[in-house]
Symmetry: C2
Subunit: 305 residues, 2 copies
Amino acid sequence: MLDYAGLEALAAVLREGSFERAARRLHVTPSAVSQRIKQLEERVGQVLVLRGSPCTGTDAGRRLCLHLEQVQLLENELRRANPDLLAGSSGAPAPTLKLAVNADSLSTWFMDAMAAFTAGGNELLDLRIDDQEHTGERLREGEVIAAVTATGAAIAGCNTWPLGTMSYVAAASPAFIVRHFAHGVTPAALARAPMMIYDRKDRLQERWLQAHGLATRAQPPRHALPSNFGYVRACEVGMGWGMHPTALIANQLAEGTLVALLPNAPLDVPLYWAHPRSAQQSLTRLTQCVMAAARHCLEAPPGAT
Amino acid sequence: MLDYAGLEALAAVLREGSFERAARRLHVTPSAVSQRIKQLEERVGQVLVLRGSPCTGTDAGRRLCLHLEQVQLLENELRRANPDLLAGSSGAPAPTLKLAVNADSLSTWFMDAMAAFTAGGNELLDLRIDDQEHTGERLREGEVIAAVTATGAAIAGCNTWPLGTMSYVAAASPAFIVRHFAHGVTPAALARAPMMIYDRKDRLQERWLQAHGLATRAQPPRHALPSNFGYVRACEVGMGWGMHPTALIANQLAEGTLVALLPNAPLDVPLYWAHPRSAQQSLTRLTQCVMAAARHCLEAPPGAT
């Protein structure tokens, strides 16, 4: 068996970022934490923690942490199903699941999944928000145990299920459209009108421009605003045009504070749920909650009945 | 004089993350970008770019970039004030200002500042969102040219102005309060009730617990959700209790979807606007917009008239 006291110390250091804070969490001294991690590193024959401010995990360290989280989830389920059997250990802390989700899912359908999941158990969630093209990397690197991703391609060691399609609309405020597109939504006008991007990884706007033959050699000026709420507001106040989940801005479109740049020109992004094959069992309940919320809010994946 | 063609290549590489994308932006070959940066590094006698995926800047590289941005801002103002004098160079791209702002400011008063600033000029904004205790570090490290911070303490080489106070309220959904605080908001109940944090850096909840004598040795279970919109929603759906800007959840408090844990127990966080002294002139218009929005939405700083 692995050294689980060592793994708990490792997980605490990576979560808290320092030996001191990890020690406080575990109610031991920092030198005890240091000792446990040193022993663990000797037994597995690899460096697991990159000492720094904050301390971070090596690939091997992160993989061991994810394994520990899976074991904790299974233990937690066992304890829930057998409250008498394990009454003595009921003081065990609730396990934490690290998930990577794209901001637009979080703003729309994923909240329902989290609400149902946390209402039905004591597990804690630690969310990382990233572009849907990049959440898969966080899974591959062992930083999270499951991810909502736009990559249907296989991720080594992972299972991937289609969740459905998120529909995006290019929209801006009426005043912005009058100011920049009085002579039509042309490539020349789009080359000068400020475009809102979420962050540097965000390529949705460029994909939409290309899909409609509107891309030019001159790239449009860009404001970057990595906040889902702020992104919509920034378009409403006229800072730029942007790609919005159609469901998220339904009110704004109905009230006319945001207007589609082109009629009937959505961009459809298929989404997937992915996690390591080894975590399938420990994530059963979460996967059910995620699937139910996606079925309710996203357009059905192609081929689904 | 510095080599400004080299500085432009450096800024493009750090902004785009790779030599290839920087070359596309500048309409030159990747080897031309590489050559310019090599020459610049030889002239300043330091490594400026850490080659990787993505490429990142050394301290010196970031500082040179910020200098370039300040020069571009000044050029931009000169061009606006003298359209005839510089007609030949009117094709210069709009300068981009990197700013660090805390999520709660972005959700409340900072949007007005950005709307006024972008409506009055062509400058582009590149926002970084971080905890108000940590935005100052991004300024110190030369990653941004200005920041909204909670640190009134002097930052080397920077000017700092008080903006006013943001008031926070600890709140949760009525169902959550019934479930966890039926016998009062006690230290024992708070040690078991899930707490929402924005991310690992977020200490507002702990500060509030300490301010009201409610902290315990056992730390509360925590969900982490680094999204301003998602954070409020997660509390509304009953995932946990959290610290919210009072102004942000005024509707929820009025409608009763969120309820204060304790009456009349706000946590006041003073905010500051900080930027390098050398950037004072180039940031004059932005600073005016920021001050005006803060004056309108935040509580006046102590001692202000």
